[in-house]
């Protein structure tokens, strides 16, 4: 059963990777990242449940993940909004100002 749980979180994570690699819209990108974070959080809780059911460390970690996800989305959105204001676009493929 544990294997199937891990497989589930792996599947969600991989789908997140697919999203990260394909999305052009910055918001879409963030959404995919959220998927991956969520998968990780599930993983933590699963292992908490199956490996150390008497403890809560996995759950605590999951809480931290959520907090960090919130923080990340907040900063990401702030940057995005500002960039959008300047460039009128949220296309990440056009954001390569640091390359040259």
């Amino acid at each position: 059963m544990l294997f199937h749980w891990v497989l589930l979180s792996l599947a969600l994570f991989s789908v997140g990777i697919y999203g990260v690699l394909t999305r052009r819209n910055a918001v879409g990108l963030l959404i995919s990242v959220e998927l991956m974070l969520n998968a990780a959080a599930i993983n933590l809780v699963v292992f908490n449940r199956y490996v150390a059911p008497a403890q809560v460390d996995g759950q605590v970690m999951a809480i931290f993940v959520m907090a960090l996800a919130a923080a990340e989305v907040l900063v990401g959105m702030a940057i995005l909004v500002m960039l959008f204001r300047k460039r009128k676009s949220a296309d990440v493929t056009k954001m390569m100002g640091l390359r040259h």
Partner: protein, 168 residues
């Protein structure tokens, strides 16, 4: 019963996730994400972490996704309203994701996790989570907790600073 439920929910969840990353409309994508996150909350329940499930709904679905939806609304642009990745992009992404999935799955199948284990009963409650979070002892998480709270504060301020309109 629980297992059947798990497979159904898991199937739904993976399907939702795929819909999230594949849909053309970014707003729909956010909605699908909301679905996936809700399903995740149900997984927490299945795993006996009801408190977490609650937080999941509150923070993720209520906070983050709403934020995302706002952002989508705010940054609508014609060229990206429909995000259609090119075929090469899709292929590369699929190859990357699939190879990652298959290699990881294969590795996992080789690991001891693949063996069936008897699920012990758990008797953790919310109180113990709270205690662990605020415990100053060697097993406690008070320091990360405080750090995260500081981080959130900083992010809050940073978000305002970055996104505010520049004074003319």
């Amino acid at each position: 019963m629980n297992e059947t439920l798990f497979y159904v929910l898991a199937g739904l969840s993976v399907f939702g996730a795929l819909a999230t990353v594949m849909t053309v409309h970014i707003l729909r994508s956010a909605i699908y994400l909301m679905g996936v996150l809700c399903l995740s909350a149900s997984f927490y329940v299945l795993l006996g972490a009801e408190f977490l499930a609650g937080i999941q709904i509150l923070v993720y679905v209520g906070g983050i996704v709403v934020l995302l939806v706002f952002a989508v609304m705010l940054t609508r642009s014609d060229d990206l309203d429909e995000d259609r990745p090119t075929w090469p992009r899709k292929i590369v992404g699929a190859v990357g994701a699939l190879s990652f999935f298959s290699v990881s799955a294969w590795l996992l199948s080789q690991s001891p996790f693949a063996e069936e284990k008897v699920l012990e009963t758990s008797n953790v409650d919310i109180k113990s989570i709270g205690r662990a979070l605020l415990d100053t002892g060697s097993n406690g998480y008070v320091l990360p907790f405080e750090v995260v709270s500081l981080l959130l504060l900083a992010v809050l301020i940073a978000g305002i600073v970055i996104a505010r309109k520049e004074p003319q």
